[in-house]
């Protein structure tokens, strides 16, 4: 037998449900800062330093120093290098320097795309529920990046990195990197300034966490260019094939 539910109880329950739904929904992404834009390394109000490395000292363990020294011993003074093979910098060098080339950010509510001009290097930073379990992805030079908002700051946690001896920030595959993006004080002319506080920890290769802050200033009306790099390698290969066959290559 059905009991009659008092009217006030129904309305109270509905109110509760609506309240729970309302407050459990993440704050609208529209309320968050939009970092989209073209950025270059912070130069301040007219100062130099486009290529200046952010401050911070990296303290390597003995194991890391040996690995780094081995790499230097086979490459120093030569043309051998990741960049010369059209390989991107990888984290954290991609975010901290990337050859001094500009960076473009494109932001969607669920994803931030960092596009570093050099080598067309791209990072996909998955925000909120868009992120998945990093352990199900292959390790990469830029790792797997998950992010969430804390107020107006975007907190990015990167793991699944590959061991890199060919970086100026060497690290093992156990390294993890935390970035905290926020808008800093703008320049005198109103130009926006973006900052990222970065901490890299590595139980195998770092004696202590590597901590630094990278700043950029916005480039208005600026074209970040594409960066075709590997085509010449293919053209050389094609040229040799045509030459061996006694044919004339017409492709430029």
């Amino acid at each position: 037998m059905l009991k009659k539910v008092p009217q006030f109880q129904v309305s109270t329950c509905l109110g509760l449900i609506v309240s729970i739904l309302f407050f459990s929904i993440p704050v609208s992404a529209a309320d968050k800062p939009d970092f989209s834009g073209s950025w270059t390394t912070y130069r301040g109000n007219g100062g130099a330093g486009a290529f200046a490395a952010p401050p911070g000292e990296i303290k390597l363990t003995a194991e890391a120093m040996k690995a780094r020294q081995d790499f230097i011993s086979v490459t120093e003074g030569t043309n051998h290098g990741a960049g010369n093979s059209c390989v991107g910098y990888g984290m954290p060098a991609s975010v901290l320097g990337s050859g001094g080339y500009p960076m473009e950010l494109i932001q969607r509510p669920e994803q931030l795309f960092s596009i570093y001009e050099a080598h067309n290097e791209i990072r996909r930073i998955y925000i909120g529920d868009e992120a998945e379990d990093p352990s199900t992805f292959f390790p990469e030079r830029n790792g797997y990046s998950r992010a969430h908002w804390e107020g107006d700051r975007l907190i990015v946690e990167t793991s699944r990195l590959k061991t890199q001896v060919d970086s100026r920030y060497p690290h093992s595959n156990q390294a993890t990197i935390r970035e905290e993006y926020y808008f800093d004080t703008p320049l005198e002319d109103g130009t926006r300034v973006l900052a990222a506080e970065l901490t890299m920890i590595d139980p195998l290769w770092l004696e202590e966490p590597f901590v630094t802050t990278k700043r950029w200033q916005e480039l208005s009306d600026y074209h970040v260019m594409t960066y075709e790099c590997s085509e010449p390698l293919w053209l050389d290969e094609m040229e040799q094939l045509y030459k061996d066959a006694g044919l004339e290559m017409v492709q430029e």
């Binding site: 490395a53 290098g81 990741a82 059209c86 050859g99 080339y101």
Partner: protein, 128 residues
């Protein structure tokens, strides 16, 4: 025989050293402190990333006439500095400023193009 090499010492800012830290490869083999001018006939010019390749036919007293291959900035940065492919047409004679090889071998890193009126287009700093 007329020597085509003219030597000049260039003061290099600290930017050079910090820039080279981010270079695509070690720039240690190039001497950016003692850049020199080289004149030669363009045999090949490939504007590419990560570095341009330029081959000049060069003649000097010491080593006679031969083709020398030079390296340069990425084509992205060359464009930003105003260095475009039509400035390096095959068959043209050009004068470039280079950071020579430290070991004295032929070759080097192109830092600028000198126009007939003496203007230098490019960035005389470090490798990119």
């Amino acid at each position: 025989m007329k020597s085509f090499f003219k030597y000049s010492v260039t003061l290099v800012s600290t930017l050079l050293f910090s820039a080279s830290l981010y270079a695509h490869h070690s720039a240690a083999q190039f001497d950016f402190r003692n850049t020199v001018l080289v004149e030669g006939k363009v045999m090949e010019a490939r504007f590419a990333n990560p570095h341009m390749r330029l081959v000049l036919e060069v003649t000097d007293d010491a080593r006679g006439t031969r083709d020398i291959e030079f390296e340069g900035h990425s084509r992205n940065n060359m464009r930003r500095q105003g260095l475009m492919p039509d400035m390096f047409t095959v068959g043209d004679t050009v004068t470039i400023r280079i950071a020579p090889m430290r070991n004295g071998n032929d070759g080097g890193y192109v830092t600028a193009l000198r126009t007939p009126d003496g203007e230098e287009i490019g960035r005389v700093t470090g490798a990119d």
